[in-house]
Amino acid sequence: MSAYVPVLIMLVLAVATAGGMIYATTVIGPKKQFPDKMEPFECGESPIVSPKLRFNVKFYLIGLFFVIFDIEAVFVYPWAVLFKDLGLFGFIEMMVFIVILAIGLLYVWRRGALEWE
């Protein structure tokens, strides 16, 4: 775990740097607030409808596919590290796994979930 101590210190330093900059800007910067200025930017128009819009459901699908295929990558990583030790047996096992997921990708593709028109 001692390898993570520098990461922790780096985190503290990074947060301190970012925080220091933001603190500096709040201290140095001017504070002139009036209602029109505080409106969300919409090219000079006053916003009428709420900005919490509906958006295309495909974005959710992309999120789901990401979870599936990223977990695939997570399973591939340990095999990649031990690739030389596992030899042919590990290779065939991993090929079965990758082919199953490739079929999944093909299915998603053929069903048109990756099409944006």
């Binding site: 390898a3 990461v7 800007t25 209602p35």
Partner: protein
Amino acid sequence: MLTWIAGFIVLVVKLVAILFFLLMAAAYLVWVERKFLARLQLRYGPNRAGKFGLLQPLADVVKMLTKEDVVPDGADRVIFRLAPAVVAGTAFLMFAVVPLGRDLTLFGRSVPLVVTDLNVGLLFAFAMSSLGVYGIALGGWASNSKYALLGSIRGAAQMISYELSLGLSIVPIVMLAGSFSMVDIVNAQKGLPFIFVQPLAFVIFVISAMAETKRIPFDLPEAENELNAGYHTEYSGMRFGLFFLGEYVTMMVFGGLVAVLFLGGWRGPWLPPFVWLVIKILLVAVFMIWVRGTLPRVRWDQLMTIGWKALLPLALLNVIVTGALGLIMSP
């Protein structure tokens, strides 16, 4: 106890030096980008502040620090304020695993020129890159602005899509090096940099890295002629500066990752190791800037097609071919 304190001080000094280097490098990368892009477009670029505009990054920092920090009405104040720090912080942390050179000997103790040599270094870098998505998604969400929301949704979808090909493209590298530690990967390239062994992985990685850093031709999350500034439309002052800084630090980090994974890291003849690494990072960065000056922005459907239908299957195929060849060639 005394040696422990000395070690701790050396560590902190080293980290501060690396952070300072990273900040300066990111600031001057902006200068390089503006100057180089200007010359590509037959302009002069910044040339007022100092010789060749070399003080421009400093002037920019002063300008951003003296601007008002505005939180728009209806914004989620806490998340809105935290998001830029997430983007910048994760970018800094990513650099922690990039080895900068050979071990240094200072006052009789050996100081490794890397923040930390994690045995899962590469995974750590990708994890931090993934956490950076939160900064963009939440920053745009919390802004209470339509442009920012659209930009952040696009940004999140784009970054997670290209993370797949990014993550899978490095699997052959890990297979060759047999380790996730960046130091081991550099050591594995003693004879031949991996770019010659794995050219396809290199191409996939660089394209995905450009999409992860949201640069032209993949800058849809902040496409200025559609979304003004995308997810950071509502940010001003130094909070905007942190988004900006995070973007350029990420560019430096991906330059460092490309250098370490494919170009042999700090290895090179004649020059000191650290100089080699900086040259290689700059090469990657200048390539990204050149691409920005050359290519138009892709459409959203093209972006998704490239990521899901081209890069992802190619990366999978590369894993299979590398595995098969590795088995055939090993005795």
